[in-house]
């Protein structure tokens, strides 16, 4: 059973880590969470990103949500925004693809071209 007291340990570890990297967020992962995205599995995609990022200790990656953006036929849609680089939009995402994006894009810095549906300055 977890209790709020368990947060103390997490907090201490996180404070040390954030001091080390000046609390910088290097990459933002933005999951589209409109009605059609949710119906197509966006929640499980977001959970996969959260689980993989925690498992790999990618503490400088932030996962967040947005509403629908007009890609309804390609949901779930995920944006990856990296400092100083073009925004990459992935479409038709699922759990397996999310794992691959974490390994190849977030860790190695190479967007997974076959899943990309748009890029932007």
């Amino acid at each position: 059973m977890k209790t709020l007291a368990d947060l103390k340990k997490i907090r201490e570890k996180a404070q040390a880590d954030m001091k080390l990297r000046n609390s910088n967020v290097r990459v933002k992962v933005i999951v589209g969470m409109g009605t059609s995205g949710i119906a197509m599995g966006a929640r499980d995609v977001m959970k996969t990103f959260l689980d993989e990022i925690a498992a790999k200790g990618l503490n400088d990656v932030l996962v967040t949500q947005t509403g629908e953006k007009g890609f309804s036929s390609m949901e779930p849609v995920v944006d990856v925004v990296e400092d100083g680089k073009k925004r990459v939009t992935y479409g038709n995402m699922n759990v397996e693809k999310a794992k691959k994006v974490v390994a190849e894009h977030l860790i190695n810095g190479n967007p997974v071209a076959e899943y990309v549906i748009a890029t932007e300055e």
Binding site: M33, T35, I38, G67
Partner: protein, 190 residues
């Protein structure tokens, strides 16, 4: 939507878009009345009577940029509730907020599974770190005992201090503590 927890996700997104700073999510089972009950109460911008009536119409959307005027989130949830011998009620006041109450007959052949309510709650919390959530899971048992789990994000944020609630180790903690809550209130695999 494949299950009720995904409907819940969609409804909470509406509350966020209404500019709510606080959203209460109650999910429970009442064994006496044989109902699964959802209450989502927000303090967002609310709706006037006309908008409130329109929100239940599948050919209405508040998103003005949309070319095809459809908004299926609320109508689908309502239809599912009514199909399952349940009920659906939305009340709202401009600048005060909106409350949504939905009931489904627990033992109804057409009722969708409850799904992963903990995943819905945690992804909502992490996706909207600036919004406060009051979460309550419960099961009123036929023997008279009530199983209750309650957790609010302000108390979590207080423990965390300057660590953001979407920090990776914290997200894993949240999945665990809310899944424990689901287990302890016997809402698992319902």
């Amino acid at each position: 939507m494949q299950d009720l927890s995904l409907h819940l996700m969609d409804i909470v997104e509406n509350s966020v878009r209404a500019g709510s700073t606080n959203i209460a999510i109650n999910v429970g089972i009442d064994e006496f009345s044989d109902k699964i009950i959802f209450d989502i109460i927000d303090n967002g911008c609310g709706m006037d009577e006309k908008t409130l009536a329109n929100a239940q119409n599948p050919f209405y959307t508040s998103k003005s940029e949309r070319q095809k005027k459809v908004g299926l989130g609320i109508p689908l949830f309502k239809q599912n509730a009514e199909w399952c011998n349940g009920s659906f009620l939305m009340t709202s006041q401009v600048n005060q907020g909106t409350s949504l109450h939905a009931e489904f007959q627990y033992h109804h052949i057409d009722r969708m599974p409850l799904g992963k309510v903990a995943d819905t709650v945690v992804t909502c919390i992490i996706g909207h770190p600036e919004t406060d959530f009051d979460i309550r899971f419960y099961r009123n048992q036929i023997n008279g005992d009530a199983l209750i789990f309650e957790l609010s994000t302000p108390s979590i944020k207080e423990e965390l201090g300057d660590i953001p609630i979407n920090y990776p180790d914290v997200t894993q903690f949240l999945f665990q503590i809310f899944n424990d809550g689901i287990k302890n209130t016997k809402l698992e695999e319902v």
